[in-house]
């Protein structure tokens, strides 16, 4: 039976009335009309649906919407400040870290989550941070260059 819930998405309080089995991903896309977050598998295998939930990157397809009740979610739509891109978005643009763009929101959110965490930005850690995100177009070389460039904007050193 449908129940109501509230989630702060990109700083704004959103309410929805959804079935208990509804995922956070479907709630964002179908109920809140925020389609920037992508569904690639709905099984937690591809990472295209990655969002930040209470500051941590999660596969939103694996999170029940009601379990995110009263939580804070940041999606790809919430990164830019008006026309000004988030440094991670800017790096993906400048370094060609995207092609078809379908995995891009997830890769960018995973990268933002990594940069906001406290892991050292070594090559190995960067690859691990992206280890849950599949990309079929780029072969990852330019994605990793973009992530390193984004790391550099935070003043931290990469290898």
């Amino acid at each position: 039976m449908k129940k109501s819930l509230q989630i702060t998405v990109n700083g704004e309080l959103n309410q929805a009335f959804v079935e208990p089995y509804y995922s956070l991903l479907d709630t964002l896309r179908d109920e809140m009309q925020m389609t920037g977050t992508k569904k690639g598998c709905d099984e937690g295998d591809c990472g295209a649906c990655t969002v930040l939930l209470n500051g941590k990157p999660v596969c939103s397809c694996l999170v029940l919407a009601h379990s995110a009740h009263d939580g804070e979610v940041i999606t790809i739509e919430g990164l830019a400040n008006g026309q000004e891109l988030h440094p991670v978005q800017q790096a993906f643009v400048e370094y060609g870290g995207l092609q078809c763009g379908y995995c891009t929101p997830g890769l960018i959110m995973a990268t933002v989550g990594f940069l906001e965490g406290d892991e050292e930005p070594t090559d190995e850690n960067i690859k691990h941070a992206l280890g849950g995100n599949l990309c079929r177009c780029t072969g990852y070389t330019k994605v990793i260059e973009a992530v390193k460039a984004a790391v550099a904007t935070t003043g931290r050193k990469t290898e």
């Binding site: 992508k38 690639g40 790809i76 400048e94 280890g131 072969g139 990793i144």
Partner: protein, 757 residues
Amino acid sequence: MADFQVLGKSHIRVDALEKVTGKATYAGDVALPGMLMCKVLTSTQSHATIVSIDASAAEALPGVRSVITGKDYPDAWFGSGALKDRRIMARDEVFYIGEPVAAVAADDEVTALEALDLIKVEYKDLEKVVDPLQAISGKSVEIHPDMEGFEGYGFALGGNNCTMLDADRGDVDQGFKDSDVIVEETYHTQPISQGFLEPMACVANVEANGRLDIYASTQGPYQVRSQLASVLDMPIGNIKVTAMEMGGGFGAKLRLALEAFPALLAMKTGRPVKLVNTREETFTLNGPRLETNIYLKTGVTNDGRILAREARSIFDVGAYLGAGPNSGVGHGLGAYNISNFKLRSYGVYTNKIYVGSYRASGVADMTFATESHTDVIAHRLGMDPLEFRIKNALSEGDTGVSGATLPKNGLMETMEALKERMGLPKKLAKGHGVGIAVGEWRSGSGPSTASICVNEDGTVSMLTGSVDISGSDTSLAQIAAETLGLRLDQVVVAKRNTDMAPFTGPSGGSRIIYSQGKAVQNAAEDAKAKLLELAADRLGVSAEALECSGGKVYVQDNPPQSMDLGQLGRMSLSSRGGPIIGTASLSSMPYAPVFNAQGVEVIVDKETGQVRVTRFVQAQDVGKAINPMGVEGQLEGGAVQGIGRALSEEILIDQETGQVRNASLATYLMPLALDMPEIETILVEVPSSDGPFGARAVAESPGFGPPAAIANAIYDAVGVRIKTLPLSAERVLAAIQGRDTDEYRVDVDELRAAEGP
């Protein structure tokens, strides 16, 4: 070389901002008022007659608006490839597990799924065949006994062999007689998925005037339009297809896919209908590549000249002939000049999902075989593999397998670049190996159109019917900008549909920059000529005295005497010729080959058989890199797809039923960032004579070499030759332990005999 302003410099993609902000709209993001959701019921049987379908319980379920079966479609055949051998939805017979038999439109997806469970289909099983080698042997059931009646049928051996292609030259028997060494081998490649990240999706709507409005994830909107028209038996003019942003296709989205299901349901209900595949359905509802068995026999002289080649390649096409076995002949020789050959390629029906296209269908399979074989021969002769390749390489003026004369190309330059970068030949430490392979392709041709309008502010609007594929819109805009002397941001790239833009071929086969780019260049030249003509009239000079650059048309001998493009654009509105539109249309482009030489270094763990690629270098002749960052990106991505094909990817098929067993991304193993080395890419630029600014194709070739290069490196590292893909740890370990890994045998004598004397 001309001094380019926009070309040859890396540019940010024209669609980058919308893609990093989540604003890009894919077909699955489309939502229309009153929209219903569609789900498809598929066959549970490998091969069976449909005795009855009872949908009454489904139709009675609240929220269900329509249920359709194959008999609701006109009695029409269509084809994904050369033969019209399919129905859009099964009518009387199913040919594989997963074949669509019914579809439902309901208020929401959950109701649609519930309705599927309520549809009762009664089947009567028929004899089936899953193994293509058995299917071609003549000792199994004939899946399509009436295939000679299929439109497009050409020549085949009969049984389940639905098409046989051939190419012959010289005297192959004499070539083998004159040879000092003959090497005869069979290779086997695995079923594989295109692996696009965006599942197939479509929204169909019927407009007030009865026209169908389709929002699709497609590489070929005009192909979807015409195939949809044939399966719905309606005029092409009654269908509009809007190609939305496409989340990867790699050949899988070249033709009509699932659009006909929501389309008919929209016609039945009068409401918009949406269908989005699940990830599982991307493996089971949409044609992948199936297995290939490739027999090769090559004769060489002791000093390393290839004299003769016989190749017989058996392509499992599944239930229907999708992308056919063309590469079995077209790529049976590799990048080498061989004057005596006999090439045969067979498409074989089996009770499995039909094959689709994937990044130059079959060429990666052929290249695994031919380029592994090349190394085997070189080693047999005691020659360095690269030197052996260089000695036999095609060169300008040679006759290619198709009979076309090879124009100027960069094959030698790519091999030299690889040699230099990797320091070949070299011997690595024990357990480490180095291997190379060369891939060959041609720049894609086909109908291409473009128009360019000059706007009142001096910007131009570029309209093409082609779908952006891996940044092609950006490169096309660069071509327009360079031709007209504009900045990239002065070219507006129109988002288009089939009503708005004239016909163009699909975005596939590496044809967009070479052919569509040529159309854009010609359209820009046409617009430029009209601008010069108008300016000449106003400035009182001849058009020949003028040049167009920097957003101005100016007198070459007196640059201050000029008019800017905005002025001309505004003036044109009331000029004799009217607003300025440059147009271009072409149907084919000359043969322009593409070569890609690749080298890998690997470490093989002798305890586990695990292979790790530690270095990957590729050099490709791209003719002219329009947008180097985009070109590198395509080459890197293609190479990684090839590494996945080499090491981990495989669709597992149940050998009893033909069913796909691993329809998920947890079990179909595509490369992750963790698995991949940095891809080092060298852009070689030997201009083509006809491509825009000398450009050649880019996208297909990088995926060809990795399986053979890695197999060759494994041989170099641990001395075992593996002829079956993928080169999994289990298989490598088995080979290291001396167990037989060549599980597949082609009965070549039978194939020879079937052809007659």
